[in-house]
């Protein structure tokens, strides 16, 4: 369990995060949702150690972590094979089973500019899961993809997560995404600069396109969706 207590962060005397408290249970997918500029990515970067923590405390801070970046997640000057080998420190043969399973072997000798954004994110996610991290941070990894590509990647993420069930902290501004992927959703308010509400979500064990459609029709999905929608709307006014 990761526990964040009274975390504060400011830039140039402008307070971005104020007394943020958060509890992330081990082996769960926890989403942080909020409007643009609420400080979601900043909070994620502080938790991952990419930004120095100013005040506050984090207990059980992960020793081995990985991060799925939103933009430029792979080195463009290296092939996908070299990208995977370099960043994980492992031989590509160690990943052959997963690469075969997800039909990614054919892309190994290509450069990132030669493949689609969706396939790049598959490699980005695969790298994060195969690095055997205790905690995986996902920073809006699907935000620039179309709905069909996003749904494929939700399934892909779910498949990977099911193997070893690492703790995942997902930053998103998409309510649908957070509802489909998470066990818990915390709302980070831009106005109050902290987490004001946390929702528990029923997840289904197999996330595929049929189940996604079914899930969207369920009352709990629609209830939480409208609750979060109201929170986002009020936070912008």
């Amino acid at each position: 369990m990761i526990e964040i207590k009274a975390l504060n962060h400011s830039f140039d005397n402008k307070q971005i995060l104020n007394q943020v408290n958060l509890l992330v249970e081990k082996g769960t997918i926890h989403s942080l949702i909020g409007t643009t500029g609420a400080g979601k990515t900043l909070l994620l970067r502080v938790l991952a150690g990419l930004e120095k923590m100013q005040t506050g405390s984090i207990t059980n801070s992960p020793k081995k972590l990985s991060f799925v970046f939103q933009k430029n997640p792979l080195f463009p000057w290296l092939t996908l094979k070299k990208n995977l080998e370099l960043t994980t420190g492992k031989n590509i043969l160690d990943f052959s089973a997963q690469l075969e399973k997800f039909k990614l072997t054919e892309y190994l000798n290509l450069y990132p500019y030669e493949i689609s954004g969706g396939t790049i994110q598959k490699f980005n996610l695969l790298r994060a899961f195969l690095s055997e991290a205790e905690v995986i941070f996902l920073d809006e990894p699907f935000s620039h993809l179309d709905i069909i590509q996003r749904e494929t990647l939700y399934e892909f993420t779910h498949e990977l997560w099911k193997e070893k069930k690492p703790t995942i902290i997902l930053v998103t501004h998409d309510i649908d995404e957070s509802l489909l992927l998470s066990h818990k959703i915390s709302f980070l308010s831009k106005k109050q600069k902290n987490i004001t509400q946390t929702f528990s979500v029923k997840t289904i064990s197999d996330l595929n396109q049929e189940n996604i459609l079914e899930l969207r029709k369920m009352p709990f999905y629609q209830d939480i969706f409208s609750n979060i929608y109201e929170l986002l709307k009020k936070d912008l006014v």
């Binding site: 991952a48 150690g49 990419l50 972590l65 990985s66 991060f67 970046f69 933009k71 430029n72 997640p73 080195f75 463009p76 000057w77 290296l78 070299k82 370099l86 960043t87 994980t88 420190g89 450069y111 990132p112 500019y113 790298r127 690095s131």
Partner: protein
């Protein structure tokens, strides 16, 4: 490349017509075909080839001095803020200085043999390489690619070779392209005075003996070298740019 060659052929063809029509004085502007023939003869009889190799040797030695110096200093500048704050103003202050102005001083320090010329060329090469390498290293270290290696740490060898050097290859090659082309200029300038070999010496000697066509042959050989350097580096830079976009 093809378009570049085509534009050269158009200019050459135009000059050929003007000289054939007698519009321009052949004594000062020999026709291009004659210059090619003369260059080929001079290269095959060893004289021009020998002098060209002398000059390229000086450029190569100067490069071997400047490249590691610029690379190490740029790496230090990019990684150590205080070092950068100390070095960068010195570079900014001395960079606009015409390097040729240092040549008399270098002749006094190193004498009239090759080392005065090599030191002048080295200084000229250093600035263009250092400035471009530093920009590249600073760019990559402030990009989100640097975040990737904070999360997935690399070995020292991979950090320098596959991250820093490979990731800044565009700036490195741009620095080399600019430096080597400027280096050619400095080779000629340094060999024009206080020298008895090199392509600069060959051009100056030809002018002194009023062998104008030989002057053109020397200039033509320099152009070919410059052209080859420019297009070789540009083709690599284009390939890298394509990957980065």
């Amino acid at each position: 490349m093809k378009k570049g060659l085509l534009s050269c052929l158009i200019v050459i063809g135009f000059l050929e017509i003007l000289t054939a029509m007698g519009v321009i004085d052949k004594a000062f502007f020999p026709n291009p075909i004659l210059i090619f023939k003369n260059t080929f003869i001079l290269l095959s009889t060893d004289d021009l080839l020998h002098q060209t190799l002398f000059s390229l040797g000086r450029l190569a030695i100067a490069f071997c001095i400047s490249f590691p110096t610029a690379l190490i200093l740029a790496l230090l500048s990019a990684h150590i803020k205080t070092f950068d704050e100390l070095l960068n103003p010195l570079v900014a202050l001395s960079f606009p200085l015409p390097k040729v102005a240092l040549y008399p001083l270098l002749l006094l320090i190193f004498g009239i043999d090759s080392w005065s010329k090599i030191s002048l060329i080295s200084i000229g090469l250093f600035y263009l390489m250092f400035i471009n390498f530093r920009i590249g290293f600073l760019r990559i270290l402030s990009s989100n690619y640097h975040d990737i290696i904070k999360i997935y740490p690399l070995s020292i060898k991979n950090y320098y070779l596959n991250f820093l050097m490979a990731g800044t290859l565009q700036e490195i090659l741009t620095g080399l392209k600019l430096a080597l082309n400027y280096g050619l200029t400095l080779v000629v300038v340094s060999e024009i005075s206080a020298s008895n070999n090199g392509i600069g010496y060959f051009i100056w000697k030809s002018w002194d003996q009023f062998k104008i066509i030989n002057v053109y042959s020397g200039v033509f050989v320099l152009s070919i070298i410059g052209f080859a350097l420019y297009f070789t580096f540009n083709s690599f830079i284009e390939k890298i740019r394509l990957k980065s976009n």
